[in-house]
C-alpha cells in the first residue's frame, strides 16, 4: 500500500463529501434543530401560551365544586375565569349536554366535571375543544389535588403547605467513583450518552451514505476501472474511509463549536430562565469522557465506514444500495439499543460482554464510561479488541472489495464472497 496514493484518494473523497449538499445541509441543520429543541422545549413547557380560559365547574355529588372554584381562581397564568359553578345529578352525556353545547359554541373554553371516588374523594375530567396543552392540564390537576388535600387534612391541624413541600421531595443521585463524587444518575447519563451516540450515528450515517453512493457511482460509470488502473483496491478503500473519517471529524468539530457557542454565548444572552442557566456542562461532560468519546468516535467511525464501503462495493445501482443500506446500519442500531440496557445495568456481566464486542464497543463502552466508569483495563481491552476488529474487517473488506467492485450486472452471492475471501 502506497501512502501517497491513499492520501490522494482520501483528499478527493474528503472534498467531495464536505462540498456535498447533504453535508452542508445536515451540518447546519443538526445544531439548529438540536439548539431549537434545547431552547424552545423548556419555553414551550413553562408557558402554556394561553392568556385566559373561561371554564365551568360541574359537580356531580362530591361537594368539592366551590372549593375547587377558589383554587382555580388562584392560578395566575392562564387566568381561569370560572364562569359557572353547577351541580348535576349524574355524569351522563345528556346531563352534560348544555355545557358541551357551550363549548362547541365557544361560550366556554372547557368544563371540569367532578365525580365521586370512594378512595380519594373525587375524580376529575376536563372537557374542551383543546386538550393538548400539558402545562394547562397540569395546572388544573394541581388545583383539584390541592382541593382534595385541603379536605383530607381539614380539622387535623396539619399544614397543607408543609405537605406540598414534602410532595416536592426529589431523590438526588450521586455517582461515586475513584475520581470522587459527581451529580448524575440515570437521566444525566441517559441523555448525555444518547446525545453522544447520536452524534456518532448521524456523522457515520451522513458521510458513510455519501461515500457509499460515490462508490456505486464509480462502479456504474466504470470510472472504477480507470481508478483501479492507478491505485490498488486496498489503497482505494483506505483512501475512501480516511476521506470520510476526515469529513466526519470536520462535521463533529463544527457541531462541537456550535454547542460551545450556544452554551457560552447564546444561553446567557437569551437569559432563558433558571432551568437552562443552571445547566452545568461540566457535570455532564468530563475531560475523561471527552477523551474516550474522541477515541470511540474515531474507531467506531472507522469500523462502521468499512461496513458502508463493503456494502457499496457489492451493489450495482443506487436503488440496490438504497435497499441494502440498512445492513450497514444494523450494528449501530443494535449498539444504540444495547446502550439503554447498559445505562440501567452498568455492572452486570452481560454489560461487560456487550461492551467488549467490537461492533458494539464504540457506543456501549462509551455508555459504560459515562455511567459507571469500568476498570481501566476493561476500557483498554475494549479499545484493543475494537482496533483488532477494524484490522480484521479491513482485511476481509479489501479481499471482497476488488472482486465486488469490478462485478457488474449482478450482486455477488455470499458463497462467492466467501470463496473470494478464502482465495484472497
Amino acid at each position: 500500500m502506497n501512502p501517497s496514493q491513499v492520501v490522494k484518494v482520501a483528499r478527493r473523497e474528503y472534498l467531495a463529501r464536505v462540498r456535498s449538499r447533504a453535508f452542508i445541509f445536515m451540518t447546519v441543520m443538526i445544531p439548529l434543530l438540536m439548539g431549537g429543541y434545547m431552547f424552545l422545549m423548556p419555553l414551550l413547557f413553562t408557558s402554556s401560551g394561553v392568556e385566559e380560559l373561561r371554564i365551568a365547574v360541574v359537580d356531580v355529588n362530591t361537594g368539592f365544586g366551590p372549593a375547587l372554584g377558589e383554587q382555580l381562581a388562584a392560578i395566575e397564568r392562564p387566568r381561569l375565569d370560572v364562569t359557572e359553578q353547577a351541580a348535576l345529578p349524574d355524569d351522563s352525556e345528556s346531563a352534560r349536554q348544555p355545557y358541551t353545547d357551550a363549548v362547541l359554541e365557544e361560550r366556554l373554553d372547557g368544563y371540569l366535571v367532578l365525580t365521586p371516588d370512594p378512595d380519594i374523594g373525587a375524580r376529575g375530567r376536563y372537557y374542551a375543544r383543546e386538550t393538548g396543552n400539558p402545562v394547562m392540564l397540569r395546572d388544573l390537576e394541581r388545583a383539584v389535588e390541592a382541593t382534595l388535600l385541603d379536605r383530607l387534612v381539614a380539622g387535623t391541624g396539619v399544614d397543607t403547605e408543609r405537605i406540598r413541600a414534602w410532595q416536592r421531595f426529589d431523590l438526588e443521585a450521586v455517582t461515586v467513583s475513584d475520581e470522587g463524587e459527581s451529580a448524575g444518575g440515570f437521566e444525566a447519563a441517559f441523555f448525555s450518552t444518547v446525545a453522544l451516540s447520536m452524534l456518532l450515528y448521524m456523522a457515520v450515517l451522513i458521510n458513510g451514505q455519501g461515500m457509499a453512493m460515490a462508490i456505486v457511482e464509480e462502479k456504474s460509470s466504470r470510472l472504477i476501472e480507470v481508478i483501479l488502473g492507478a491505485v490498488t483496491s486496498t489503497e482505494f478503500m483506505a483512501g475512501k474511509i480516511l476521506g470520510v473519517l476526515g469529513s466526519g471529524l470536520t462535521q463533529l468539530g463544527i457541531w462541537v463549536a456550535a454547542v460551545l457557542l450556544g452554551v457560552f454565548y447564546a444561553v446567557p444572552m437569551l437569559s432563558l430562565g433558571a432551568g437552562v442557566a443552571e445547566f452545568d456542562l461540566g457535570t455532564i461532560l468530563s475531560l475523561e469522557l471527552i477523551f474516550y468519546f474522541s477515541v470511540f468516535f474515531t474507531l467506531g467511525y472507522f469500523l462502521y465506514s468499512v461496513f458502508f464501503a463493503v456494502l457499496a462495493a457489492t451493489c450495482t445501482s443506487t436503488e440496490e444500495l438504497g435497499h441494502a443500506m440498512f445492513a450497514a446500519v444494523v450494528p449501530m442500531v443494535i449498539a444504540l439499543m444495547s446502550t439503554f440496557y447498559v445505562i440501567a445495568n452498568p455492572g452486570t456481566a452481560a454489560t461487560r460482554v456487550l461492551s467488549l464486542l467490537p461492533p458494539l464497543t464504540p457506543l456501549v463502552m462509551l455508555a459504560r464510561v459515562n455511567v459507571l466508569s469500568p476498570p481501566l483495563w476493561e476500557i483498554w481491552l475494549g479499545i484493543a479488541l475494537l482496533a483488532l476488529g477494524i484490522v480484521a474487517a479491513g482485511w476481509l473488506a479489501a479481499r471482497i472489495f476488488r472482486y465486488a467492485l469490478l462485478l457488474h450486472g449482478k450482486r455477488p452471492t455470499l458463497p462467492e464472497l466467501l470463496s473470494v475471501i478464502r482465495a484472497g
Binding site: V9, E217, E218, S221, V226, I227, A230, L406
Partner: protein
C-alpha cells in the same frame, strides 16, 4: 521497449455460464495503432479488461509492456473504458488533475497538464464547470484527456468515437495520431470501420471470443485481391446486386459496390453492368474493411449495410 506492447497467448476468460474469450492469441506491435474489431458481444471489451489486469484470466497468459503482471505496469497504461463516466459533481480541471495525480504525477505537474489538455480539446473555458454540466461529447474529450494525460506507453481506447460529431471525431483522430507520434502504442476497439481504415496499421477481428482474422491491414486487403466492382451510375436499371457472378453488394441507386464470387470474371460483370445502366464511372478495388468484416462475421439478417453501425 519490447517489440510487442501487448501479447496474449491462448487467453481464456469465463463468466458464470459463458466463456467470453476462448483461446485468444493477440500480438500488438509496439508503436503501432492496433484495431481490435468484432461485433457486439464478441469479447473485445473482456479481452481488453483481462489484458489490463482488471479481470484475472481463467487460462493463458498476458504480457503487458514486457511484464507478466499487468498491475505492475499500470501507471504506463492509459485506458478509456467503453461505458464512460466521470465524477459528475467534480470540477473538470480538478478531475483531470486528480486522475493525473493518482497515475504518479506530482500535483503541480498534474495541474499544469490538466489545463494544457483542456486547452488542447477546446474546453479551457469549462475548467471550473462541474463535469456533469458538460455535453456528452465534451465529457468524452475530457475522458480521452484523462486516459493520456500521464503520457502512457500504451493507450487503450474502447469505442472512443461513440457519440462524437464529425468535427470532434476528426479532432480525436488527430489526437490518436499524436499519441503514436510521441511513441505510444494505441489499441483501438471500435465498430467504426472507416476510422480503423484511416488509423490502424494492424488489426485483429474477434468473433465469439476467438480471433478470426489478424495481421497488417494492407496485407489483409491485398490478400483478397481486386474482387470488388464499384459502379457509379445515373438513372434506373438498378439494383445491380442480383447480377450473375455477384456474391454480395450494396446499391444506393447511384453507387453500387459489388463483391464478386470467387473465380468470377470481373470483366464479364462490368460488361453486363455497362449494358444495363448509364455508367458514370466504374473501377475494380480491393474489398473494404467493412466488406471483409461482413464476409467474416456474416452479413446482417435484415437490410444490408447496417452492420457497421
Amino acid at each position: 521497449m519490447p517489440t510487442a506492447a501487448l501479447r496474449c497467448e491462448n487467453l481464456v476468460k469465463k463468466f458464470a455460464g459463458t466463456t467470453a474469450v476462448r483461446g485468444l492469441d493477440l500480438n500488438v506491435p509496439a508503436g503501432a495503432i492496433f484495431g481490435l474489431l468484432g461485433p457486439n458481444g464478441s469479447g473485445k471489451t473482456t479481452t481488453i479488461r483481462t489484458s489490463l489486469g482488471i479481470y484475472v484470466p481463467d487460462g493463458g497468459s498476458v504480457e503487458l509492456l514486457g511484464s507478466r503482471d499487468p498491475l505492475a505496469v499500470r501507471h504506463r497504461v492509459g485506458y478509456l473504458p467503453e461505458e464512460r463516466g466521470l465524477y459528475a459533481k467534480m470540477k473538470v480541471a480538478e478531475q483531470l488533475t486528480f486522475l493525473a495525480a493518482i497515475r504518479g504525477l506530482d500535483e503541480a505537474e498534474a495541474n499544469r497538464r490538466a489545463h494544457a489538455w483542456l486547452d488542447r480539446v477546446g474546453l479551457a473555458a469549462n475548467a471550473r464547470s462541474e463535469t456533469g454540466e458538460l455535453s456528452k461529447g465534451m465529457q468524452q474529450k475530457v475522458q480521452f484527456a484523462a486516459a493520456v494525460i500521464h503520457e502512457p506507453d500504451l493507450v487503450v481506447l474502447d469505442e472512443p468515437f461513440t457519440g462524437l460529431d464529425p468535427i470532434n471525431s476528426r479532432l480525436l483522430q488527430d489526437l490518436i495520431l499524436e499519441q503514436r507520434g510521441r511513441g505510444a502504442t494505441v489499441v483501438l476497439s471500435t465498430h467504426r470501420m472507416e476510422q480503423v481504415e484511416a488509423l490502424c496499421e494492424s488489426i485483429c477481428l474477434i468473433h465469439e471470443g476467438r480471433p478470426i482474422l489478424d495481421g497488417v491491414l494492407a496485407d489483409i486487403r491485398t490478400g483478397y485481391g481486386r474482387n470488388t466492382v464499384v459502379v457509379e451510375y445515373e438513372g434506373g436499371g438498378g439494383p445491380l446486386t442480383d447480377l450473375p457472378g455477384v456474391r454480395r453488394g450494396e446499391d444506393t441507386g447511384q453507387e453500387a459496390r459489388l463483391e464478386l464470387d470467387p473465380g468470377a470474371d470481373p470483366q464479364a460483370v462490368i460488361r453486363t453492368v455497362v449494358n444495363r445502366v448509364a455508367i458514370g464511372a466504374v473501377r475494380l478495388e480491393h474489398p473494404s474493411l467493412e466488406d471483409i468484416y461482413l464476409e467474416r462475421v456474416g452479413a446482417p439478417p435484415s437490410p444490408a449495410g447496417e452492420a457497421a453501425s
